[in-house]
């Protein structure tokens, strides 16, 4: 298995791997090329490259369908939740890693308890809660949900990293007169940058992609996130394929860009969460 000699079986192995690559890519390829075809061409040439490239779908989305607002809403929700989530989880993880008493250990498991359980199972109480706080149909309603449900994983990753940093580094900073806040900023954060990148990428993608909570809690058209807008759009315009595919493509662009640059961190997060978790 570990020998480097060329064996004829390798032809079969490459064949399978390349075939599966096509199987993986083809639906995405289809989505992108269809968004660039006119409705007429979609029927005459459904599965190949576009002959006559058109951007009219994208133009309609931004000019007539408020997609600028939906994009802005999605960025607002995703960035706000990611930033606050990172902030509160960093403080939490630092405290839990540096205090080793019973309370701290209990809290670690208290937060970990929510790691595998989907929050959507608590939807009915959440519905009452947001209603009482007047957060139904508000972007902040879903931002709070995203923060709360992602605290366990974020805390778990950050605690693991901070615990590996030796105490001595901080102690010398304290002797130099730095306060806890400054130590966190100047000593800890620079040392756990890879962990921070991991949790940002790992949280950003599912928050951006989520449609469940907006579907339930967002009622006004202008407050829709991009993914909710695309979902509603699909039902409404499901005969205007060019427009529908343009919307689908558009919704995927940000995550695909992030994956292109951050796949390393995403895979790291997955391994940390599943194998060691």
């Amino acid at each position: 298995m570990r020998t480097k000699r060329f064996k004829p079986q390798y032809i079969i192995i490459y064949f399978v791997l390349i075939l599966y690559t096509f199987y993986t890519i083809y639906p995405i390829f289809l989505m992108v090329v269809t968004s660039l075809k006119s409705n007429k061409e979609i029927f005459s040439n459904p599965s190949g490259f576009p002959i006559d490239v058109t951007f009219s779908g994208f133009e309609t989305l931004f000019r007539k369908e408020n997609y600028t607002i939906y994009f802005a809403n999605s960025f607002y929700v995703t960035i706000m939740s990611s930033v606050i989530l990172l902030g509160v989880s960093l403080l939490l993880a630092y405290a839990l890693s540096r205090y080793t008493d019973k309370l701290s250990k209990f809290l670690y498991f208290y937060f970990l308890a929510g790691m595998m359980i989907p929050l959507r199972l608590g939807l009915l109480t959440l519905n009452d809660l947001l209603y009482n706080l007047k957060l139904i149909d508000r972007l902040w309603g879903i931002i709070i949900i995203y923060i709360a449900m992602n605290i366990p994983f974020t805390m778990f990753i950050l605690t693991g990293f901070i615990k590996m940093i030796p105490n001595t580094l901080e102690e010398s900073a304290f002797i130099d007169g730095a306060n806890t806040w400054k130590v966190l900023r100047k000593v800890i954060i620079p040392l756990i940058k890879p962990a921070i990148a991991t949790v940002i990428v790992y949280n950003f993608i599912p928050i951006w992609n989520d449609v469940y909570f907006p579907l339930i809690f967002i009622k006004t058209k202008e407050k829709r996130t991009l993914m909710l807008a695309v979902t509603m759009f699909f039902g409404q315009f499901s005969t205007n394929w060019n427009l529908v595919f343009s919307a689908l493509t558009l919704a995927c662009v940000p995550v695909l860009i992030i994956y292109l640059f951050g796949s390393k961190y995403l895979i790291k997060g997955l391994l940390a969460g599943a194998v060691k978790g």
């Binding site: 979609i42 403080l91 939807l123 109480t125 992609n209 979902t231």
Partner: protein
């Protein structure tokens, strides 16, 4: 960190409040709502076990509930078979010191980053009976008789949805299996080569037993996500789990009862809470099994 209690409290409190109020409290409190009856934001009346009795004695509820559980189990089995088998084959091939290993691993993971609804819509179009690439392809190679309304047929709809779901997530098993395989020390292979074992025999004798725990981990991840799934069905066959409820799962049943009733009929939130509680129990059992396996894995090789 300076060992002061007030600093500890300041650092822990924001996360504690957010997590307790918006995560733990809703999860636990929703279980209790199974014993109440209400139709939306109004007052709740305590009805004891009434909702449970209603679920098991009224045919209109019971038939849907049993149907959803059956479909959910099938959805889980189809997905897990496809993901584990395909994921294992791909990972085993990538692990053979081939060129482009990283490329294949990264490509297979791309669909995982897409939104579930996007994947659902995309595959709905692939299965489109008239111009969907699947039927177009079948006709092109002369298999006209096989071309059909994949999602409109009770016997194929759920399998087709499972294939779309597995297509999206196959990258996860690939990465986890690969990590497991790379953790196996080379000496094990070298010594087995001295005994004359190679290739497929080595795979079954050494690789497979050592990565078996990974199969359980993946199975649990899929279990939790499939028993709380909603979006893929919503995108592909709608909240009614068409055709004729053959793709209706617990997530769509719950949504329909609480948020998607036809106009005129008030939602039965208590009944929804019962469904959610059943999902909660199913998922917690799955998670506990996962923790147990994880514990055994820690003490393993």
């Amino acid at each position: 960190m300076k060992r002061s209690k007030s600093i500890f409290a300041i650092f822990v409190l924001p996360a504690f409040i957010l997590y307790t109020l918006f995560m733990l409290y809703p999860l636990i409190s929703s279980l209790g709502l199974s014993f109440f009856s209400w139709t939306g934001y109004g007052a709740k009346t305590y009805v004891g076990l009434n909702n449970f009795i209603k679920l098991f004695t009224r045919p209109e509820h019971f038939v849907r509930f049993i149907g959803a559980i059956k479909n959910n189990v099938l959805f889980f089995i189809y997905t897990i078979l496809f993901q584990n088998i395909v994921g294992l084959i791909l990972a085993a091939f990538i692990n053979l010191n081939i060129k482009g290993a990283k490329f294949f691993r990264s490509v297979y993971f791309i669909p995982t980053t897409l939104s579930i609804v996007v994947v659902g819509f995309l595959w709905k179009l692939i299965y489109n009976p008239i111009w969907g690439p699947l039927n177009v392809g079948l006709r092109a190679i002369g298999l006209d008789s096989m071309a059909m309304a994949w999602l409109g047929n009770e016997s194929t709809a759920l399998i087709c949805i499972s294939i779309a779901n597995a297509w999206q997530y196959v990258g996860i098993p690939v990465i986890l299996f690969l990590a497991g395989m790379q953790g196996i020390p080379d000496e094990l292979y070298e010594s087995s080569e001295l005994d004359g074992a190679t290739g497929i025999k080595q795979f079954w004798k050494i690789t497979f037993p050592l990565i078996a725990p990974v199969i359980f981990i993946i199975t649990t991840i899929v279990f939790v996500s499939n028993f709380s799934a909603f979006e893929i069905i919503y995108a592909m066959t709608g909240t009614l789990g068409a055709p004729n409820y053959s793709t209706d799962i617990l997530g769509t049943l719950f949504y329909r009862i609480c948020f998607g009733q036809r106009l005129g009929t008030p939602p039965d939130m208590g009944m929804g809470a019962v469904i959610a509680s059943c999902m909660f129990i199913i998922i917690v059992v799955g998670v506990l099994i996962w923790f147990k396996i994880y514990g055994e894995r820690e003490t393993g090789y």
